[in-house]
């Protein structure tokens, strides 16, 4: 085990972590503001990959360019899902906070529906985009990096930064944060809380779709891919702190590095055990997560 090998595992882990972080940030935002777990998060990701794939397949649109179409499209999709599916549950309970398990199960049902619709229409074939970027490598001397993965790594910071800007420097963002901090007071100040929920869900969905489009150049598209990354994103947001956006970034990078570095010592498949151990240790010692803001 040379130091060089370890360093290259660390860098590879950071790339992988960038992917986990990009995928998880939207989930964390939605939990932080609406206090619901979007169980269909992985399915949303899968659908966004398909969307980007088909845009490339039929219109020869480069996946990175397809972002321009996919992000607004998925914002509307998320907005509609929250408005049409989740909002009725808030209205029924006449509350600004619903019992989270109900929404979790609702979205679990939606996850099953989306995954199996994809299976019905697209079959379980693995599909991939042929892109000149996909095979480009960037050399760092001791390690060669796949360019799309490097882009993914920087994208995680971009998503986190964009959301930071949105939440702190726009009127909508300030309204969103106020709802996250104290929804009753926000409502008293004239903020339409349900509308903020719709927007937040849309933004969270757009964030995961952005990650999805950027994944297409180096990731196989198939109906089952959402499940494994969905579960990973749950682990990431608990690690980083449910509801915290910097937490999701750090949690994602940490998970990627832990997986990649432990894979140098044990078979890669046993390495997943360590990511779960990490999860349990964080739950036991610091339940609110690394950057946790939530009282537990």
């Amino acid at each position: 085990m040379t130091l060089e090998l370890l360093a290259s595992a660390f860098i590879t882990g950071l790339m992988l972590g960038g992917l986990y972080a990009s995928v998880s940030i939207g989930l964390s935002l939605i939990f932080g503001i609406i206090r619901v777990i979007n169980f269909a998060h992985g399915a949303f990701l899968m659908v966004s990959l398909y969307a980007s794939f088909w845009l490339w397949y039929f219109f020869k649109l480069d996946p990175y360019l397809s972002i321009v179409i996919i992000v607004p499209l998925f914002f509307l999709f998320g907005y509609a899902v929250q408005h049409l599916l989740i909002r009725p549950m808030f209205v029924r309970e006449k509350a600004l906070v619903v019992e989270p398990i109900g929404v979790l199960l609702l979205m679990a049902g939606f996850d099953i529906v989306l995954s199996n619709l994809a299976l019905l229409f697209f079959k379980s074939d693995y599909r991939a985009v042929i892109s000149p970027v996909a095979s480009t490598a960037v050399s760092l001397g001791f390690v060669d990096l796949n360019l799309p993965r490097l882009i993914m790594f920087f994208l995680s910071f971009f998503i986190a930064g964009a959301l930071y800007w949105l939440l702190n420097y726009t009127e909508m963002g300030i309204a969103i944060r106020s709802v996250g901090q104290n929804r009753d007071a926000a409502a008293l100040c004239g903020v339409n809380v349900y509308r903020i929920y719709d927007f937040t869900f849309g933004i969270g969905t757009a964030a995961v779709a952005l990650a999805g489009a950027a994944m297409v150049p180096f990731y196989y598209v198939n109906p089952a891919m959402g499940t494994s990354l969905g579960v990973k994103s749950f682990i990431v947001v608990v690690l980083g702190g449910l509801g915290s956006i910097p937490g999701a970034l750090i949690g994602g990078l940490l998970l990627g590095v832990v997986e990649s570095v432990t894979a140098q010592f044990v078979p890669a498949t046993s390495a997943v055990i360590f990511s779960f151990l990490l999860f349990i240790i964080v739950l036991l010692t610091r339940p609110k997560g690394i950057m946790g803001v939530l009282e537990v």
Partner: protein, 370 residues
């Protein structure tokens, strides 16, 4: 009857007397019917569907014990897998009969349940649901990719384990025909539902109801909420492990993708949620409705439309959550009580007939901090 254990008639003498009357009669009639089915039905496929109905009713009832503590488990397949793998491995390696091996799996799963539950139950919010998924998925990935586990355990990776065939061997939990499995599944379901009924009426059951209604109030009264959640979890996990052994012996094959996968976890939870999670009879009702539907759709349309039965399950789950948040149990119980009142000629009577409104449970508004 009034569904033992919907909770709202507890302690009412009148309700108790009613329960002995019609409810038990209906249950006895159903039981007798189920006991007689194999005498008239010799076609293996319908029998197979019955076995699956009982099996999923068993798993769903075991699962619902955790939800009675207000917690959602989406990782119960892992416990089923551990149970099935334990008994099968003990049989393959040392020739231990699965009848004995199943208890080893049950004890192992009770311990695992406590270890997984302890860190998560102390926290409010969706932590337990997320932990249970993470645990099950990681176990599945591990087993799927491990030929030989620690201590030389031959896990056989994604291939799964084939239970060595011994023909007609009742002592080894193997039978040539479907009928014995039918009766074993029926007995297991009855034991699980009975246990759930007893727990619901016991001190633990009252504590669990208190905890899921308002954890702060329950704790203020001196109930150690983590302890009782862990007890419910341990019983639930042990039962699920027994179900795993049944699964392995019935199909004579167990593999990580099916027996530990998220799909199985969700199917178990689905049966409970659709029927009425947090109720005694709900999972059984859910299984009677869902399992044959899913099985028939899979059998007749699964070839051309893979995933169609899961699509239906997903839509049904969404529909139930949106329109019947307490599952099918509640409307069925209400209809049954109306029928009961008519049978006893008390229809038209005032308050005594209509079912007492179920006290609105104050949902623990867990995420709320502001």
């Amino acid at each position: 009857m009034s569904s033992p254990g919907t909770g709202w008639e507890k302690g009412s003498v009148v309700a108790k007397r009613e329960r002995i009357s019609l409810g038990w009669l209906v249950i006895a009639a159903f039981l007798l019917l189920f006991l007689l089915v194999p005498l008239f039905l010799h076609d293996p496929y319908p029998l197979h569907i019955f076995v699956l109905v009982f099996h999923f009713a068993f798993l769903g009832t075991a699962w619902s014990l955790v939800s009675m503590a207000g917690q959602l488990s989406l990782g119960h397949a892992a416990l089923m897998g551990i149970g099935g793998y334990t008994s099968t491995l003990l049989f393959m390696e040392w020739g231990v009969s699965p009848w004995i091996g199943m208890w080893a799996g049950a004890i192992a799963c009770a311990i695992i349940g406590v270890v997984i539950g302890y860190p998560a139950f102390r926290l409010r919010g969706p932590y337990f649901a997320l932990t249970s998924i993470a645990f099950a998925e990681i176990l599945r990935i591990y087993v799927e990719n491990t030929e030989v586990g620690p201590f030389g355990i031959p896990l056989r990776a994604a291939m799964g384990l084939l239970v060595p065939l011994r023909g007609q061997a009742p002592a080894l939990f193997q039978f040539d025909s479907k009928e014995p499995y039918y009766y074993i599944a029926l007995v297991m379901m009855c034991i699980a539902v009975g246990l759930s009924y007893l727990i619901n009426r016991s001190r633990i059951g009252f504590y669990l109801t208190a905890i899921r209604s308002d954890q702060d109030a329950a704790e203020a009264l001196g109930i150690n909420s983590t302890k009782y959640k862990l007890i419910a979890m341990a019983i639930s996990c042990a039962l699920t492990a027994l179900g795993g052994t049944f699964y392995a012996q019935y199909f004579r094959y167990i593999n990580p993708e099916r027996a530990m996968g998220l799909g199985m976890s969700i199917e178990i939870a689905l049966v409970g949620v659709v029927g009425g999670w947090q109720t005694v009879l709900g999972p059984m009702i859910g299984s009677i409705l869902l399992t044959p539907t899913g099985e028939l759709v899979r059998a007749y349309l699964g070839g051309t439309y893979a995933g169609l039965h899961l699509l239906l399950y997903g839509l049904l789950l969404m529909g139930v959550i949106l329109f019947l948040p307490n599952g099918l149990n509640d409307p069925l119980v209400r209809a049954f009580r109306r029928l009961e009142a008519r049978v006893w000629g008390r229809a038209g009577g005032a308050g005594g007939v209509a079912p007492p409104a179920r006290p609105q449970e104050k949902q623990p508004q867990q995420g709320e901090r502001g």
